[in-house]
């Protein structure tokens, strides 16, 4: 595996900072989400310890909210666990995608990267990796990723605690939660570069929309899977 020349290799510190800068506008969407994760724990009849437990151990917003909602209605533990796992299945796709850029990283680094993997850290890092060349990169891949993922992790923990403490006092005048899909929209645009990726996005979005009423947020992984299959089929047809 080719290594970068030491004199042209980007420094860890600068790369981490670049990642932290890249994630900062995204945090606007994380703050209300994290507050809600704290509020949801209170509403499920749980305390600060359980809210923080979910945010530190599970660290996956949508699945935390779903599990807390189920626990609040008295569902058995296995239903909440299965639901959380299904909602997080999409991250196996991110793991495969980002993993292809981390083949030369050590096992401890890949363990850290795995624990911190989120929609946002994945999308921001992949966008940067694709923009920079494989030779003479502007940022170190691992440290840029860590910059996005670790800052997001810290904000998630802080806002979860705030959510428990502040409770339902979050003003609802501005739908701050809408910042979450807006973030994904902005990250989606540069990933559509040709017909197959456009088809992948259209089919992915369309199927997810139609399948949205399905329980356990199954519409999202179903749509994403369908989009990947159609996009890939177009690539294959063009070549044969």
């Amino acid at each position: 595996m080719a290594r970068y020349d030491t004199d042209t290799a980007p420094s860890p510190r600068a790369s981490f900072r670049a990642g932290a800068i890249a994630v900062s506008p995204v945090l606007l969407g994380i703050v209300p989400f994290g507050l809600v994760a704290g509020v949801a724990a209170t509403e499920a009849g749980l305390g600060l310890a359980e809210a923080v437990g979910f945010s530190v151990v599970v660290f996956a917003g949508a699945s935390q909210l779903a599990a807390l909602e189920l626990l609040g209605t008295g569902a058995p533990a296995w239903v909440a666990i299965m639901t959380a796992a299904v909602i997080n299945l999409r991250m196996a796709m991110y793991s495969a995608s980002i993993g292809s850029y981390m083949t030369d990283q050590s096992l401890p680094r890949r363990l850290v990267a795995s624990y911190l993997l989120t929609d946002q850290a994945y999308a921001l890092s992949l966008a940067r990796y694709q923009r920079q060349g494989r030779t003479r990169p502007e940022v170190d891949r691992f440290w840029f990723y860590l910059g996005t993922a670790l800052v997001l992790w810290m904000v998630w923990q802080i806002t979860t605690v705030l959510g428990v403490v502040v409770g339902g006092a979050v003003p609802e005048a501005v739908p701050l939660g809408f910042a979450v899909p807006l973030t994904f929209l902005c990250l989606l645009v540069p990933t559509v570069t040709d017909r197959p990726t456009l088809a992948a996005a259209l089919v992915g979005g369309g199927v997810a929309l139609v399948a949205a009423p399905l329980p356990a947020n199954l519409g999202m992984p179903l749509g994403a899977g369908a989009g990947v299959v159609v996009g890939y089929a177009l690539v294959r047809r063009k070549r044969s």
Binding site: F59, R90, S97, G99, S100, L111, P181, L209, A212
Partner: protein, 108 residues
Amino acid sequence: MSATQTAWIVIVLGGIATFAIRGSFLLVATRLAELPDTTRQLLRMIPAAALAALVVPALLRTDGELVLLGPRPLAGVVALGIAWWTRSVLATIAVGLGAVVGFELLLG
């Protein structure tokens, strides 16, 4: 079993399951060192498909109902334009949030 005990079972087992999913490919990544072109093409489709699958329902479904001409889809179109022109997350969020508030006032 108390509600707190049940919660901790969900936290620990849900956490292990989530970590296993996150690490699924990353932890065996060394074996992917020489990715065949077909796999590379397949992986290239994931971000477009996955992000669209997150975005489209969030924009076109309001409170669980399909809404095509509400504040959210309209603000989404505006935000898509801003994202296309500027490629800036901050500009997209700022204009998108402004648009959704504006359309909510207009459409009542």
